[in-house]
Symmetry: C2
Amino acid sequence: METRQGIATKEALDLQSVDQDLVQKMVYDALVWSSLHGLVVGDRSVQRSGKVPGVGLVHAPFALLPVSFPESHFREACELAPIFNELVDRVSLDGKFLQESLSRTKKVDPFTSRLLDIHSKMLELNKKEDIRLGLHRSDYMLDEQTKSLLQIEVNTISSSFSGLSCLVSELHRSLLIHYGERLGLDSKKVPGNSAVIQFAEAMAKAWTEYNNARGGQVIAVVYFRAGYAPTDYPSESEWRARLLMEQSSAVKCPSISYHLAGTKKIQQELAKPNVLERFLDNKEDIAKVRKCFAGLWSLDDSENVSKAIENPELYVMKPQREGGGNNIYGEDVKETLLRLKKDGTDEDAAYILMQRIFPSVSLTFLMRDGICHKDHAISELGIYGAYLRIKEKVIMNEQSGYLMRTKVASSNEGGVAAGFAVLDSLYLT
Amino acid sequence: METRQGIATKEALDLQSVDQDLVQKMVYDALVWSSLHGLVVGDRSVQRSGKVPGVGLVHAPFALLPVSFPESHFREACELAPIFNELVDRVSLDGKFLQESLSRTKKVDPFTSRLLDIHSKMLELNKKEDIRLGLHRSDYMLDEQTKSLLQIEVNTISSSFSGLSCLVSELHRSLLIHYGERLGLDSKKVPGNSAVIQFAEAMAKAWTEYNNARGGQVIAVVYFRAGYAPTDYPSESEWRARLLMEQSSAVKCPSISYHLAGTKKIQQELAKPNVLERFLDNKEDIAKVRKCFAGLWSLDDSENVSKAIENPELYVMKPQREGGGNNIYGEDVKETLLRLKKDGTDEDAAYILMQRIFPSVSLTFLMRDGICHKDHAISELGIYGAYLRIKEKVIMNEQSGYLMRTKVASSNEGGVAAGFAVLDSLYLT
């Protein structure tokens, strides 16, 4: 596969030099630790797994040791969390901006179209969400050449792995407490991670606030663990349920507006000149956010489309769909762009074009199904953010832990569940 | 199967009346809880399970709700723990008693014979164990008719389930915190259980004491997680290893003397008149211990052998072997006794005869492989005890948590690992 990344293994630890016996000991301890602490997932190869809880479990895929990451860039990403929380909230309040930005997408993407229909209905009803709860995760990669932290996307629905990510941080700390001295690594350099506790706290606070106002006995908080992919709506019933929840007075996590504010098209719109300024007041905040934006273009930007056809390896084409596994890379970018150009239909509106980011490559021990693989890998940092607001009062707006995902450098897609990546944590350098 | 137990369902909770929807909710929550908290074991149906940690996991078999148990009897069992700890230690010091009591067993049981050989060598060397560490579990059943707590056996090697038992107590507390009100049960009536922490603490203390005296860099503590069954010694290498460990100055948990002190033959010898008095000084302690002894006889006790042939359902025949699955019940008792009588060999010395205990039967929800079965079941209470002594100084002598095991009333054998029982905790009444 096309990995243009330089093999610049610049980790604090030189894995090549680690004694094989020591690796085997750590592998064994890490696997035992996983079983004892709930760092487990369903094993697809076991028939009833995923249908009956507690059956067919296997350790979650994880990196044996945390990936090195510059402390300054980690802090930078953490500082962005409350700003993105606020940005999502502001964008969500601008119904016209959401509808207009997504108007072309609506024509070609039936899924986004259905979401926009619900959103329209809420606008017609002039429905206000007094209590707004956001549990987001903004994902970044560190570009090797420019040494800059660039945003991949922001997730405003079903931000996953808050639970397992905490466990992987704990696992790595535990391994470094035992083996750190022999590896020359300090367990304290793995940052604490309380994502799952902070998310639970935010939900509990939303519940309390709702009940304080209304006095209990109705559903207070609706959390969406699904609903972000077309396959989550196999029939009209699911769409009716989604509408019903949106119409209710319950706190939705996310509301339809938060959901739409997290789409890739909106990400691309926000990257246009002078758009951030419509939603954020603080100039420093705007500068920080802009700094982390990679190049993002719509497919009616003929200049950048031409550039992408010329150098497709420098671009990624992303459809609106979530869940990983749908991005277009390399020669496929060129072919798809040429086909869309030739067709001349509106289908181009279903995609955005993004600058391809080339993070540094490190040698990593990746654990899956009890087996340890050594391979060159790249990492993606997710920063969780929790936001709770009641009318004009911000109750909670914080960075809430992190998720590191590491994937083999020759694989393009980043989804852990999709089978290409492992859960990881970070080692500050 | 022959269950003479009266179906006297006297639990605090009438399971028959529990709403099916509520049961399904609890089942689901309990299974999820198990995955999240490490209440898992290897799944034999998955090929690599048990060979590679972290692979092929399934929730441990457990009872959905704790079994009712009278608080007075629980306290009685807890109070016995330090007395049995002391008793095992005293018996272990009497090499002649161990050798003589087991002399007939030695002739017919090659396994016990090998253990006695090692013990003899230590006696010849006049080897003293200055630091003695005992991690025991004494098992009891509550006899329905006499309302008395009767000892099944004391385990002095590989006392298992200290880890999982704590988790089951936690699981039951957690379920009762959520559902207790609807069930009319109070989570506080599930006693706290810190068996695994107390066992770890005892081992750590033994390690510290050993190193204080010697200054590190050698093996300080040898813990036996195996070595109690003939199959653990497939060749002479294992026996040589056992001897080597015994000869070393390391703290053995257990030493060969502690191991032998926990055999069924010694249990039966201790039950003879005036034997306890050789090892314990305190008259109250002696009375407490004697009170929990069931009827125990050797097979050269012709009076009781005749009684057992007449009423075999009132007796159990137990071989020296550990691990469950080897006891003889019912008509088989009669047949085996008659055969041994006819043969006239020493083979009878491989068994002891024990009064059969009939505990009360309760309706129970047993969970295995993600499936909930409702059945009549009986329970066995294990009380852990930790003991650490350095010469004349007792560093630790305490009751250290508990294990409840519940099995379907129609099954005679009690081993959880053998597939007949589930892990449980208790609800004090």
